[in-house]
C-alpha cells in the first residue's frame, strides 16, 4: 500500500523586499523558504494512516522544485515520510499550477499509489488548484478541502468531510484511488525528533528529470501553463491610521475608541 503526498516549499517575503528588474517576480534574495503549512497536515494524515494500518504502508512525498527544496523534503522525511522524490528541469521555471500538476500526475502514474494527498493551497500563491488539476490528468476521483478523513489503505472507498463556507461541513464517500486536498486543522502535525532529523539527513532524495517521466519540454514551463505572469507590483496599502506613542499612550487611545463605541451603542 502506498500514499503519495504532493508537497511544496513555499516562499514568504522578508519585511523589506524588492521587485525583480523585469517586474514579474520578487528578487530571490528576499524570499524566505519553508514547507507549505497545508502540506504539514497532509503528511501527518498519511503518517497517521500508516501507523494505524495493519498492512505495511509506504508514505512517499513528491515535489516539483529545484534543489533548494531539499531542506523542506528532509523535514518531511524527519516527520515520517519514507521516501522523497524531487522532479526538476530548468525548463520548469514559470510553470503554473496546471503545468506542475501535469508533472505530479506523471510521477503518480509511475508510483501507482492507493491515494494521493495535496494541500488545499499553498500559502504563497494560494491557487488552490494543483491537487485537483493533478486528479484531472490522472482521471481520478477528487475532492477539495477535506477536514476529516476515514480511510484504510487499500480500501475501495473513503469517507470524509469537506469544509464548506460559514461553518458547514458535508460528508462525502469517494472511490479510491482518489486525490484529496487536505485542510488545516484535520490533525495536529507532529514535531520531528532530533533522532528522526538525523535519520532523515541520511535518507536519499530521488531526483527525476522530465525524460524520466516521459514528459517533454512543451508540457512544462510557459508552454505547458494556462496563465502567464505579466507584472508583479506592490499595491497601495496601509489605510490604517497608526496610533503612536509609548505602550501606555497606545492603550489610552484604544480605551478611548472603545468608550466612543460604547457611547454610540448606549
Amino acid at each position: 500500500m502506498k500514499i503519495l503526498i504532493a508537497v511544496k516549499q513555499v516562499a514568504a517575503l522578508d519585511e523589506d523586499f524588492e521587485i525583480r528588474e523585469d517586474g514579474r517576480d520578487v528578487e530571490e534574495e528576499f524570499l524566505i523558504r519553508d514547507l507549505n503549512e497545508w502540506d504539514d497536515y497532509s503528511l501527518e494524515e498519511a503518517v497517521k494512516i500508516k501507523e494505524a494500518s495493519s498492512e505495511p504502508v509506504e508514505v512517499v512525498i513528491v515535489s516539483v522544485a529545484p534543489g533548494e527544496a531539499d531542506e523542506s523534503l528532509r523535514k518531511c522525511l524527519a516527520k515520517g515520510a519514507d521516501r522523497a522524490i524531487r522532479i526538476w528541469d530548468d525548463g520548469m521555471e514559470e510553470s503554473d499550477p496546471i503545468a506542475i500538476a501535469r508533472v505530479l500526475a506523471a510521477a503518480a502514474k509511475s508510483e501507482a499509489p492507493d491515494m494521493l494527498f495535496a494541500g488545499v493551497q499553498s500559502s504563497d500563491h494560494t491557487f488552490a488548484s494543483t491537487g485537483i488539476a493533478t486528479a484531472a490528468f490522472l482521471g481520478w476521483p477528487h475532492a477539495a478541502v477535506v477536514s476529516s478523513l476515514d480511510y484504510a489503505p487499500g480500501a475501495k472507498s473513503a469517507v470524509f468531510r469537506r469544509e464548506l463556507e460559514g461553518g458547514l461541513l458535508q460528508e462525502v464517500e469517494i472511490q479510491c484511488p482518489a486525490v484529496l486536498t487536505i485542510q488545516l486543522g484535520i490533525n495536529t502535525p507532529r514535531y520531528a525528533s532530533l533522532r528522526s532529523i538525523k535519520q532523515a539527513a541520511a535518507k536519499p532524495i530521488e531526483v527525476k528529470s522530465l525524460a524520466d517521466l516521459n514528459l517533454s519540454a512543451g508540457d512544462v514551463g510557459a508552454s505547458g501553463s494556462h496563465s502567464r505572469v505579466r507584472r508583479m507590483y506592490i499595491p497601495d496599502k496601509g489605510r490604517a491610521q497608526l496610533i503612536e506613542g509609548d505602550t501606555a499612550a497606545k492603550a489610552r487611545r484604544l480605551a478611548e475608541i472603545i468608550r466612543e463605541f460604547k457611547g454610540d451603542a448606549a
Partner: protein
C-alpha cells in the same frame, strides 16, 4: 469565441450571494457584442431562475442534474459540455470551496486559460488581464492567458457588488450528459457548537490570532474581552489548536461578524480567509508586532507593538 458564461452557485436550495457578484464581474468585462449567460446547475434549477433575472443578463441556462448538491464529476461534465457547445471567451466561477473541487480539473481537461482568487478582471488593450494576490497578498500579480480561446476565472467573493436592477433575460434549458458520480455527497453537518456564543450577533468583538503564542495566554485575553465588554473571537489557528471552540472562529470557514461595529484584532496577521469574515466592519483596530501584517490594510486604526503589553495596559483602564 465570444460571450461571457457565469456559473451560478447554489447550496441547499439557496443561491449563494457570490453568484450575483459574478454577474457584475461579467458586466465589467463585457465588450460590444458580448452576451452574458448565467448557468445554474441544480436538481431543480427552476427554483433559482427568478433571483437570477438581473440587469445585464441576456440568458439564463437551466441545467437539471441528478445530484441535488455540488458534485465534482457532475459539474465537470455538465459545465464542460456547455463550454464546448457555447464556446464562450470567458467563464466566471466563484473562488469557493465548490469551485476548488472542479475548476482546475475543468481548465486542465479543456485547455482553458485559468486563474483563481481573482479580485480584478479587466481588458487592457483588448487583452484579458486578471489580478490576484501573491506571497501572502503582499504583492499584486497580473496574469494573462496567451493563446487561450477560453479563459476560466475564479473570482474572489465580496469584491464585486451585486447588480441592483432587475432584468428580463431569455430562459433556456441545457441537457447535461449523464454522469456517474464517483464522490457521492451525503449529509450536511452544521458545526456543533460547545459554546453558546453567536459571533454573527456580536457588535463588539475582540479577536485573538496566532500572535498569542501559547494556549495559556488565552485566559488573559478572555479576561480583557470581558472587562471591555467584547465578545472574544479568534482566527483559524486558535480554533484548529482547540484553544477556543470553532464557534468563535471568524472567517470564511467560520463565522461572519455580520453585526459587528467595533472589531479589535490582536495578533491576527490578516489572512484573506480571515478578512472575508470581518473586513466589512466599520471600525477595525489591529494590534500586531509585525508592521507588515496584512491586517493593517483593512484596519481603520493600527497599533504596532507587543500585544501582551498593550493588553495589560488596556486592562488597567477598565
Amino acid at each position: 469565441m465570444s460571450g461571457i458564461l457565469v456559473i451560478a452557485e447554489q447550496r441547499r436550495g439557496e443561491l449563494r450571494p457570490v453568484s450575483l457578484e459574478l454577474i457584475s464581474a461579467a458586466q465589467n468585462l463585457r465588450t460590444a457584442g458580448d452576451t452574458v449567460t448565467v448557468a445554474i446547475l441544480a436538481g431543480s434549477p427552476g427554483l433559482f431562475l427568478d433571483s437570477l433575472k438581473l440587469a445585464g443578463v441576456d440568458e439564463i441556462v437551466a441545467i437539471e442534474v441528478a445530484a441535488a448538491e455540488f458534485d465534482p464529476d457532475t459539474f465537470e461534465s455538465a459545465v464542460g459540455a456547455l463550454i464546448r457547445e457555447r464556446k464562450p471567451g470567458v467563464v466566471l466561477v466563484a473562488h469557493s470551496v465548490d469551485s476548488f473541487g472542479y475548476a482546475a480539473a475543468l481548465a486542465a481537461k479543456l485547455h482553458l486559460g485559468f486563474a483563481t482568487d481573482v479580485f480584478k478582471a479587466e481588458r487592457l488593450d483588448g487583452t484579458l488581464v486578471a489580478t490576484r494576490g501573491g506571497y501572502g497578498q503582499k504583492v499584486n500579480v497580473e496574469v494573462d492567458f496567451p493563446g487561450r480561446d477560453t479563459v476560466l476565472l475564479a473570482i474572489r467573493a465580496n469584491v464585486y457588488k451585486p447588480p441592483d436592477q432587475r432584468g428580463d433575460p431569455r430562459i433556456s434549458e441545457f441537457a447535461a450528459p449523464a454522469t456517474m458520480s464517483r464522490a457521492g455527497g451525503r449529509d450536511f453537518i452544521e458545526l456543533s457548537s460547545n459554546d453558546d456564543v453567536d459571533m454573527t450577533a456580536a457588535e463588539f468583538i475582540l479577536t485573538i490570532g496566532r500572535g498569542i503564542g501559547e494556549e495559556t495566554n488565552v485566559a488573559q485575553f478572555k479576561e480583557l474581552a470581558d472587562a471591555v465588554g467584547a465578545t472574544l473571537g479568534c482566527s483559524r489557528p486558535i480554533a484548529d489548536a482547540g484553544w477556543l471552540p470553532k464557534s468563535r472562529q471568524v472567517g470564511q470557514s467560520g463565522k461572519t461578524a455580520s453585526s459587528c461595529k467595533l472589531y479589535i484584532a490582536m495578533g491576527v496577521s490578516g489572512a484573506i480567509q480571515h478578512l472575508a469574515g470581518m473586513k466589512h466592519v466599520s471600525t477595525i483596530v489591529a494590534v500586531n508586532s509585525d508592521a507588515g501584517a496584512s491586517i493593517f490594510n483593512v484596519a481603520k486604526y493600527g497599533v504596532v507593538g507587543d500585544i501582551f503589553e498593550i493588553a495589560e495596559e488596556l486592562r488597567r483602564l477598565f
